[in-house]
């Protein structure tokens, strides 16, 4: 753990220096990379460590975005709004986890995917509170300059990413992380060995929600206009998963590295092939799953327990 922490400290120190590069483009890209880093690291708690194929990231992100946005509209300062969004996402994750984590495999995956859709529809319908399909305008941040604003949000995401990473580190090298790994290997055996599987799974799920919720809220403040389909987009879930697959599931640095790599590739495609953007994204996913399912970081590490069919 000490070694990982030292490497991380150096890595994060380097990232913190990015704004010095000056260009707004790099800061914007950096902010997005950090945001997806949070998403990927968060998914890793439930998907990588515990082995539950969750597609709920989009649900937590959207929920956090709207909670933060509504809070700000009601007058709360950004910091509090973000914290509130985190708490909301945490509470929701616990309740949802208690309901859904009884399901396994496909059923769990689909249920978690559907939750985002249902939330989106509910937010759409609650026009009084959320503006519904017409979207929600947040108070525009008033900062010294455009640059200062960009830097502010960069460091906000940076702080969140650092926090998420710290949580990843702490969990990986603790009884919780060990328990989640046992659950992924063989849940009923883990139960027999004394692991309170419900408690551990819900904890993992809660961790997968709280930081994503905050990221959603920060995102909302950053772009200061959100619509349900933007923030409840299933692509958030899928990209988080793909990033972790790319970097190596269950590992400490994998999600972050996967996020950086994936977004780097995506930026190249965006700039050059706008029309086929989603198609190329799909192609990337296909190639990754077929040829590198175990990720780049841990090519030799076994990706969980491959159950044969039937």
């Amino acid at each position: 753990m000490k070694r990982d922490a030292t490497i991380a400290a150096a890595l994060f120190a380097l990232i913190a220096l990015l704004p010095l590069a000056g260009e707004a483009y790099w800061m914007r890209l950096g902010t997005i990379v950090l945001m997806y880093g949070v998403l990927a690291m968060s998914w890793n708690f439930i998907g990588g460590m515990a082995g539950y194929p969750s597609f709920a990231v989009a649900a937590f992100f959207g929920l956090g975005a709207y909670t933060g946005a509504v809070a700000q509209k009601l007058g709360l300062p950004m910091g509090l709004a973000w914290a509130g969004a985190g708490l909301m996402a945490l509470a929701f994750a616990v309740l949802l986890g208690l309901a859904l984590l009884r399901l396994r495999g496909h059923y769990f995956a689909i249920a978690s995917l559907v939750v985002a859709e249902v939330l989106r529809e509910l937010v759409n319908a609650a026009t009084g509170l959320t503006g519904g399909g017409m979207g929600l305008n947040l108070p525009i941040p008033t900062m010294a300059s455009v640059d200062a604003q960009a830097r502010f949000f960069f460091y906000a995401m940076f702080g969140l990413a650092a926090l998420t990473f710290a949580a990843t580190l702490a969990t990986t090298y603790s009884k919780l992380g060990f328990g989640l790994r046992c659950i992924r290997q063989n849940e009923s055996a883990a139960d027999m060995l004394g692991v309170d599987t419900t408690f551990y799974k819900v904890s993992g799920f809660a961790l997968s929600g709280v930081f994503v919720g905050m990221a959603g809220a920060v995102y909302a403040s950053w772009v200061y206009y959100i619509e349900p389909p933007d923030v409840f987009d299933v692509l958030f879930s899928v990209k988080a998963i793909v990033m972790v697959l790319l970097g190596g599931a269950g590992s400490v640095f994998g999600p972050l590295i996967g996020a950086a790599l994936f977004l780097g590739l995506e930026e190249l495609v965006w700039r050059n092939y706008l029309e086929v953007h989603t198609g190329v994204l799909g192609l990337m996913i296909v190639v990754l799953v077929l040829f590198l399912p175990k990720g780049l970081l841990s090519l030799s590490q076994r990706f969980g327990h491959w159950r044969p069919m039937g």
């Binding site: 495999g105 859709e117 899928v238 086929v276 399912p293």
Partner: protein
């Protein structure tokens, strides 16, 4: 009587739904793969029928006959070349793979067909037919009957043909089937082909009734999910029952809550089923 009309509407819709779900259910039940492409196959079939009609006057019912072999081959090839490579992998990988493939397909369709909604309007229109107090549009009724015919055909294939029996055997016990000399890889490919075939063949039916767009796949996919959970996995009768139930629920739901909430309604139903009866109304055990 209004209730009877709504019920009839629901049943007609349900017949169509049964068709689109049966192929999906088969693939999920036998290969343990959730084919995210299924919805887009339906849309693709619909587009092909639309353009065949609009440019060459090919009647959609005829397009179905073309779609059947075309989509079977497409599905077979796709499974054999790509999906089979990760067939034993965790749920996550197969889901993500078909998701990626779906992104490619829908992007392709946007480029080829533009993102506009298209609906096939028959010229001359077929009109309506009345059964007592219940009035049904003939095109919907015909579509439902054809959908039922397709579903029935799938059922016959599974219960009477050699390959169908092999598929059922693999579903029950893959290892035992292999020991009996069944080429499991070929069966997987054939099953996926059948699933694609059912999807592609229902496209022409659906495009006559609902407008379609390249991004409409997920909506049909969502319905297929719900139907599978309602009716249980891997069985045609299950898809039938699930389809009819969903059709009726949506019909009455539209009346009570408004049509824009149809999706929320069916998804809420899905979640309730998953929480309380994940093996379907028939109580049949599917794969996890």
């Amino acid at each position: 009587m209004l209730t009877l009309q709504i019920l009839a509407n629901g049943l007609v819709l349900g017949g169509l739904y049964a068709c689109i779900a049966s192929g999906f259910s088969l693939v999920w039940g036998v290969l343990n793969v959730i084919n995210i492409l299924h919805g887009s196959f339906i849309v693709l079939g619909g587009y092909l029928a639309y353009f065949a009609y609009v440019t060459a006057g090919v009647h959609p019912f005829l397009s179905i006959l073309i779609a059947i072999p075309a989509f079977f081959v497409l599905g077979y090839a796709l499974q054999r070349l790509m999906i089979n490579r990760i067939i034993a992998a965790p749920v996550l990988l197969t889901l993500t793979l078909t998701f990626g493939l779906d992104l490619m397909l829908s992007n392709g369709m946007i480029l080829a067909f533009t993102a506009d909604f298209k609906k096939l309007v028959l010229d001359p229109p077929l009109g309506t037919i009345a059964f007592g107090a219940v009035v049904l549009p003939i095109d919907r009724l015909a579509a439902m009957l054809l959908a039922l015919a397709l579903t029935g055909m799938l059922y016959l294939i599974l219960s009477r043909s050699r390959i169908g029996r092999a598929i059922v055997a693999v579903r029950m016990d893959r290892e035992a089937a292999a020991l009996m000399g069944v080429d499991v890889k070929r069966i997987y490919a054939a099953t996926f082909g059948l699933g694609a075939m059912m999807a592609g063949a229902s496209g022409p039916l659906l495009v006559m009734i609902f407008p379609i767009s390249p991004l409409g796949g997920p909506a049909y996919l969502g319905k297929a999910f719900v139907i599978c959970v309602l009716g249980g996995l891997g069985s045609v009768p299950g898809a039938m029952i699930g389809g009819l139930v969903l059709g009726v629920v949506e019909s009455f739901g539209s009346l009570w809550f408004g049509p824009e909430h149809a999706i929320t309604l069916s998804f809420s139903l899905l979640i309730l089923m998953l929480l309380f009866r994940p093996h379907g109304l028939l109580g049949r055990k599917g794969y996890e």
